[in-house]
């Protein structure tokens, strides 16, 4: 599976496993529609057939009760199927099958009012140490330790997440201040970012995902400029990713976040 346009007004799906969620949403909505239309026909039929007419009197005995029992049991069975057959397995696949650590791209995400800081480990593949005391809102937003050799090659990019098609991405989410919620609609991933905790999530852009820039949204009210807390996920080929990486290396470390912001 991979890129698909799932319909039902859902946004395009560029991830490898997002179709599972789309399928579940579709199945539920078809079921809801059937139930509502069936119920609605009965409802409207009752209203029309049993409207008050002169000389007509209500008949308390005339009741078709079995239908309701079947309807209720039917709903219960459907819910059980959806729950056990779809929702739980999809959730398990999403939350309990992390990608191979060595094959995945690792990024730390540090949310703050009102930006997403993406911290890449750089060529050495090891995240430099960070500490609150080194934080400089403009020059060093995640607080990289300048004395740590692993930190020297690290890249911090504000509001821009670069990923490669077909390569799984592991994110470690944390927040500096309040609760945010990290959401990439086209990847079908969403996770609240709770200050004081680090939470891992992962996703995989499909092999044939459309290249380009897509929204990252903060889904949890986080302050006055919550609406402005927009990031962008850039879906790259390995080549374009390398090109971006090279462009980052030229700049002096730690990166000048101010400039990034303008971009």
């Amino acid at each position: 599976m991979g890129v698909q346009n799932p319909g039902y007004w859902l946004p395009v799906d560029l991830s490898k496993y997002g179709y599972k969620i789309d399928d579940l949403i579709n199945i539920i909505h078809v079921f809801m529609l059937i139930l509502f239309v069936g119920w609605g026909i009965f409802f409207v039929y009752c209203l029309v057939r049993f409207r008050a007419k002169p000389g007509h009197r209500a008949n308390p005995e005339l009741i078709h009760a079995k239908g309701s029992k079947y309807a209720e049991i039917g709903v219960a069975i459907f819910e059980a199927v959806i729950l056990l057959g779809f929702s739980m397995p999809v959730w398990a696949a999403y939350k309990h099958a992390p990608p191979d650590k060595d094959k995945a791209q690792h990024v730390r995400v540090v949310a703050q009012q009102f930006a997403w800081n993406f911290h890449y480990p750089g060529p050495d593949g090891i995240f430099g140490k960070t500490d609150q005391k080194y934080i400089d809102e403009a020059a060093n937003p995640v607080g990289l330790d300048p004395n740590d050799p692993h930190a020297l090659d690290d890249i911090v990019d504000v509001n821009n997440l670069h990923v490669i098609r077909g390569k799984p991405v592991m994110l470690r989410l944390s927040s500096k201040d309040v609760i945010h919620s990290f959401w990439i609609p086209v990847m079908r991933v969403k996770q609240d970012v709770i200050p004081g905790t680090v939470f891992p999530i992962w996703f995989e852009p499909a092999e044939n995902a459309t290249l380009g820039e897509f929204d990252i949204t903060c889904a949890q009210l986080c302050g006055n400029n919550h609406f402005k807390m927009r990031g962008a996920v850039h879906i790259d080929t390995p080549e374009s990713f390398q090109k971006w990486l090279d462009s980052k290396k030229v700049s002096t470390q730690p990166v000048n976040a101010e400039e990034e912001f303008k971009e």
Binding site: R57, W91, Q113, D177, I179, I194, F199, F227
Partner: protein, 595 residues
């Protein structure tokens, strides 16, 4: 209070029956201990709050439909700097993000805690329930008065917070910490909430004692009208679910005022510097305590409406409710289950799979009793002789609206589909379908239905229909597009959605929603006119204008202080309509059949 006029003719009976003196205006209408007066106080206050909350939303809808444009009519008023340090909602006529957040938080708070709960429980519960059980008043009339006079300051504090330094609360009606601890304006919200919670507690104790102890002779629990059952379950929810929020409110107040860290984790870095809180707290603790109240709260909002709808449907189909007992059991089960589903609001917080599995399972289970009640109400239509008067129109419109609201809860209650839909406009569409065209339609049905009992006069039918149809259409034009926007991936609580792909794509829907909301405001004018003018000009009625069976219709309209002229006795089930072998198509509970 406004209904004073028509009350007078019942007073002669009152003096006769209980031998007390004429009360002064203040004792009779302001500090009254009469459950009917308190009910009307609650009703009118809550309607005012509802309209105010709706007005806040209409301002927000302008920003969403026309981002960054000057708000017509009120823009300049909102931009006025009242004093130094005053928080403006707008500058130069354009809504500010903090203004948008304040309006949003207060819209939610006002609608839920100052509008619907006081209307459904304080208004209808107070007025109707003692009459329906044949009681002379509530068990504790003074406590009842106190609950209104604790509610009102709570509401006024909330309103006054707009004019306090720092402005009104801006952290959503859910007030998630740490944001709510950091943001200005939250203190007044918390203090107001503590008043409202206290008021609800006083009310709920009173309701339960009244229902258990003060039913008329012969009125066994299974002869109670469904509305009373709904109030009974609701009162238990209020009694047991509100105190944890009170505890949470006290803790958040401590975090704000005493510098404690109940909800503040270690190492916070706020606006460019390390935060002052010592840390070690848990932001999720707030969410757990909040939703432990706020999910039962959903059923506090919906159960009384279901009760009203059941009354109106039984009366206007002219036949007994089908499956009365199963409805009662379903309501009780619903009440119980509502205490163990709260964390389905928190699937995205990173809870463990075991916990989320538990909560999505209970969430699926809780949908079953709702289905039972809804099915019972629809099947009740079968074989009836349906009168389409205004209360009935609102009551039957409630059914499909609540059905949509309930069904759209399914994809949100399942963890996996919730990944995409959580915190989007889909959520807003979903719960508004439950409470706006759902509960509020139930409330309108109740107002049209019991208005003659409260005032002795009917509301105008033509104006009623002029109120119903545009409201019904507009409601759907407002909330259905939100479901679509949510599917498109539009995040809720965004001041300017147009910077997102999903927001740009759904701008047209936003415009449609906003226009529908404004038209709906105009559609409320016939109702307001009808409500006030009918007090003086409505058609006069006797005690039972709807040919109804339950006990409240045995009392005069309006009922005097003490309610009944002779003590009522219940001789049969609540909804004996169209009994075979009788000329009348209704047999009231209190009527003694001659052998």
């Amino acid at each position: 209070m406004s209904a004073g006029h028509s009350h007078d003719h019942g007073h002669a009976h009152d003096d006769h029956a209980h031998g007390h003196h004429e009360l002064g205006f203040i004792r009779k209408w302001i500090f009254s201990t009469d459950h009917k007066v308190i009910g009307m106080q609650y009703t009118v206050t809550a309607l005012v709050f509802l309209f105010f909350g709706f007005t806040l939303m209409m301002i927000m809808r302008w920003q969403l439909a026309n981002p960054g444009h000057v708000i017509p009519f009120v823009g300049s008023m909102l931009s006025k700097q009242l004093y130094a340090g005053y928080m403006n909602l707008a500058t130069e006529g354009v809504l500010l993000p903090e203004g948008y957040n304040a309006l949003g938080a207060m819209h939610g708070t006002i609608m839920v805690f100052l509008g619907i709960v006081p209307l459904a429980v304080g208004g209808f519960g107070n007025f109707v329930m003692p009459l329906q059980i044949g009681a002379p008043d509530m068990a504790f009339p003074k406590l009842n008065m106190m609950s209104y006079w604790v509610f009102l300051p709570g509401g006024l504090i909330m309103l006054a917070s707009f004019f306090m330094p720092g402005g009104a609360a801006q952290s959503g009606w859910t007030s998630y910490a740490p944001l709510s601890v950091i943001n200005p304006g939250q203190t007044a919200w918390l203090v107001g909430m503590i008043f409202l919670i206290t008021s609800s507690l006083l009310g709920s104790i009173n309701f339960i004692v009244t229902i258990i102890h003060m039913r008329a002779p012969g009125l066994t629990m299974f002869r109670l009208p469904f509305f009373v059952w709904a109030q009974f379950v609701t009162a238990f929810l209020l009694l047991l679910a509100f105190p944890p929020l009170e505890a949470a409110g006290v803790m958040q107040l401590m975090d704000r005022l005493a510098g404690t860290s109940f909800f503040m984790p270690s190492g916070l870095w706020v606006s460019g510097k390390a935060a002052e809180w010592v840390g070690g707290g848990s932001p999720l603790l707030w969410q757990h305590l909040f939703w432990f109240l706020a999910h039962p709260e959903v059923y506090v909002l919906i159960l009384p409406a279901m009760g009203i709808v059941a009354e109106v449907i039984a009366n206007n189909t002219r036949k007994p409710l089908w499956g009365y007992r199963s409805m009662v059991y379903a309501a009780a089960f619903l009440g119980f289950m509502s205490f163990i589903v709260w964390a389905h609001h928190m699937f995205m917080t990173g809870m463990s799979t075991k916990i989320s599995t538990f909560f999505q399972t209970t969430t699926m289970i809780i949908s079953i009793p709702s289905v039972i009640i809804l099915t019972a109400l629809v099947i009740s239509l079968w074989g009836g002789s349906i009168r389409f008067n205004t209360p009935m129109l609102f009551a039957i419109a409630f059914l499909p609206m609540f059905a949509i609201g309930g069904l759209t809860g399914l994809p949100l209650g399942l963890t996996s589909s919730d990944i995409h839909l959580h915190d989007t406009y889909y959520v807003i569409g979903h719960f508004h379908y439950v409470v706006a065209p759902g509960t509020i339609f139930g409330m309108f049905a109740g107002i049209y239905y019991w208005y003659p009992k409260a005032t002795g006069r009917m509301m105008n039918e033509t104006l009623g229909k002029l109120h119903f149809w545009p409201t019904f259409i507009c409601m759907n034009c407002i909330f259905f597009p939100m479901l679509i926007q949510g599917m498109m991936g539009l995040s809720r609580r965004t001041y300017d959605p147009n910077i997102y792909q999903a927001g740009l794509a759904s701008l047209k829907l936003h415009k449609m929603i906003s226009w529908s909301a404004w038209i709906m405001a105009i559609a409320q004018l016939p109702f307001i006119f009808n409500f006030f003018v009918s007090m003086f000009a409505g058609k006069k009625v006797t005690e039972n204008p709807w040919d109804s069976t339950t006990l409240e219709w045995a009392a005069p309209s309006p009922p005097p202080h003490g309610n009944f002229l002779t003590e009522p006795k219940a001789h049969r089930d609540p909804y004996v309509y169209s009994p075979p072998g009788r000329k009348d198509d209704f047999l009231p509970q209190h009527v003694v059949l001659e052998v």
